[in-house]
């Protein structure tokens, strides 16, 4: 297992190199220059100063030299300074990370809490009334653009009913709240984003749960369990569910890239200062160091997710053994 892990971790290196090279080329070859440099291109700025600026950002060097420089710094976790405000990119990302992780982690927990019972219930009588109803619901949920759902809910819950705050993560008078009230306030602001993110992945995961449960319930050991006279509850929850959960565990790792992509849209709708919104800002201002760092982060998280999926698969199912 250790040897397998080691090999997988080594395997990440070429993939990461490939991803960064492709992204670097694509981002830098495009016409146009970063906004900060662009702004300084107004007629008042002399060509000498412009050249100095280019030099400062290393934009005057050939592309492969720029990439080599970037790579040398990046392996030491130095992703350079943001073009937008001159602060280290790593710090800007770290500032924004907790919120995105919080929203996605809470949603993921909600998704599983909802999807597992839904899947079990639907699997009890495949083709039954409940199963058919959820099938229809899942089809619709799959087809709903989640950012549209967010807009509808904002309109209904925040504006018509006035139950929840419409955007941001803090109330205006946040500064004066007691610590407990501050936590409550942030939680209050995050209800809608978490709800929408949850609905976004609920359809897929509840379907997986259903088919996994149907599969488990058709196994011979279920017949055995029934034959020895166990109550149906024990059969379903102890013998069926435990086995059905195995493949579902791996979905946690695999859902990471989707959540990251989704956070770009949700965070910009709800005005949440998270990673997704940071990436959007970076893209709009062509903040190259920030864009590259976020692409690397996204790729690392995607690969980490895949690895977690494979490892947890082996962990929950001892029949799977990876050779080193």
């Amino acid at each position: 297992m250790i040897a397998y892990l080691f090999r997988r971790l080594l395997g990440i290196i070429p993939v990461l190199l490939g991803i960064t090279i492709i992204s670097f080329i694509v981002i830098h070859l495009a016409p146009g220059k970063p906004a900060t440099v662009e702004q300084s291109l107004n007629p008042k700025v002399s060509p000498e100063i412009r050249a100095k600026l280019y030099k400062l950002y290393g934009l005057d060097k050939p592309l492969h030299v720029q990439y080599a420089d970037w790579l040398k710094r990046s392996v030491r976790f130095d992703f350079g300074d943001s073009f937008a405000d001159g602060r280290p990119v790593a710090r800007r990302i770290l500032e924004r990370m907790p919120l995105t992780i919080l929203v996605n982690a809470v949603s993921l927990v909600c998704v599983f809490l909802a999807a597992i019972p839904l899947g079990i219930k639907a699997a009890q009588k495949p083709g039954g009334r409940f199963d058919n109803a959820t099938t229809v619901a899942v089809f619709v949920l799959f087809a709903v653009p989640t950012f549209w759902l967010a807009l509808l809910l904002m309109q209904l819950v925040c504006i018509r009913l006035g139950w929840l705050p419409i955007s941001g993560i803090k109330s205006l008078d946040f500064e004066y709240f007691s610590p407990a009230r501050k936590v409550m306030d942030i939680g209050w602001h995050l209800i809608l984003p978490v709800f929408v993110t949850t609905l976004g992945s609920l359809a897929g995961i509840s379907r997986y749960m259903r088919s996994s449960m149907i599969e488990a319930m058709s196994q011979p050991y279920i017949v055995t369990a029934r034959a020895k006279g166990l109550p149906e509850r024990t059969v379903v929850y102890k013998h069926g569910l435990r086995n059905a959960l195995l493949p579902i565990v791996t979905l946690v790792g695999l859902s990471i890239p989707g959540l990251l992509g989704g956070s770009v849209i949700f965070e910009s709708i709800f005005a949440l200062p998270g990673l997704g919104r940071l990436f959007y800002e970076a893209v709009m201002t062509r903040d190259y160091p920030l864009i590259m760092a976020e692409v690397v982060l996204g790729a690392v998280l995607t690969m980490a997710g895949n690895l977690i999926a494979d490892i947890s698969y082996a962990y929950v199912d001892p029949r799977i053994r990876y050779k080193g």
């Binding site: 495009a30 549209w148 309109q155 890239p257 062509r286």
Partner: protein, 263 residues
């Protein structure tokens, strides 16, 4: 009604396609015509879906938006499927190093945070319909490639392929005339789901302002205005979203129906 999914899906997409094709004829107004006297007018017999903040007729914009969404979906997936077919059949048919190289590259692409890449590319390249078609196509071929490769791996050892080889057929002929047609089923299902995905992606990009650019109407960029008209003009939020929902539902139905036909 032996295949209700396929029937329902085809019906939905058929109506949409006709709307898209006939948009110039059936839309009651010029989708870009600004009408200062009818700003944010609610739905009425004159404006079936109301007007936006520039007084443009929403129904007409929706009909023209259908053209954009459907063509982006079809062309992006066309590009992706074509790349997937070529790359996947080469990998599956020749095996050894071409397979190793291609599948390694496919793995790299699968680890790409695709949405991040698309956003970055679209932003640096100046968003346009063609850029979006290309970038969605270029980042979405991996599924098709894997499917066709695994199908060909199992097909190429079968007797009818060996017979063809014994008759002296060229590699290209075997791949194009015999392997691909026999392996195309799952790829078609995948492509149909892909169209739905591409349309959803385009609407998300346009909503972020990084997709189809105004004044060209797309369902996604009509929704941009819904943020500023929240609580004032429900029709601007409701209709474009419903259109996206129904379209995706239609393609997903067709995919489900096709699965039954093939499987």
């Amino acid at each position: 009604m032996r295949n209700p999914y396929l029937t329902a899906g085809t019906l939905i997409i058929g109506v949409l396609a006709i709307t898209a094709i006939l948009a110039p004829l059936i839309s009651p107004y010029d989708p870009a015509r600004i009408d200062g006297k009818n700003l944010l007018a609610p739905p009425s017999p004159a404006h079936l879906m109301g007007t936006d903040s520039l007084g443009r007729d929403l129904a007409s914009r929706m009909a023209w938006g259908a053209r954009i969404s459907l063509s982006i979906g079809l062309i992006a997936v066309g590009i992706a499927t074509l790349i997937g077919l070529v790359v996947g059949s080469i990998a599956g048919f020749y095996g050894r190093w071409p397979d190793a190289v291609i599948m390694r590259f496919t793995d790299i692409m699968l680890c790409f945070p695709t949405f991040f890449l698309i956003l970055a590319v679209v932003a640096v390249l100046e968003p346009s319909i063609y850029n979006i078609m290309a970038i969605i196509g270029l980042t979405g071929w991996m599924g098709a490639a894997r499917l066709i490769r695994s199908e060909i791996l199992s097909l190429k050892e079968r007797e009818f392929i060996q017979a063809e080889r014994a008759l002296g057929a060229s590699d290209a002929r075997i791949i194009v005339r015999h392997l691909v047609p026999n392996a195309i089923g799952p790829v078609l299902v995948n492509a149909t789901l892909g169209i739905a995905g591409a349309i959803l992606l385009e609407s998300g990009l346009s909503f972020l302002g990084l997709g189809v650019q105004p004044p060209t109407a797309s369902w996604g960029n009509i929704l941009i205005e819904s943020k500023s008209t929240l609580g004032v003009a429900w029709w601007i939020t409701v209709f474009p979203g419903l259109a996206i929902l129904v379209t995706i539902l239609g393609f997903n139905f067709i995919a489900e129906g096709l699965k039954k036909v093939i499987g």
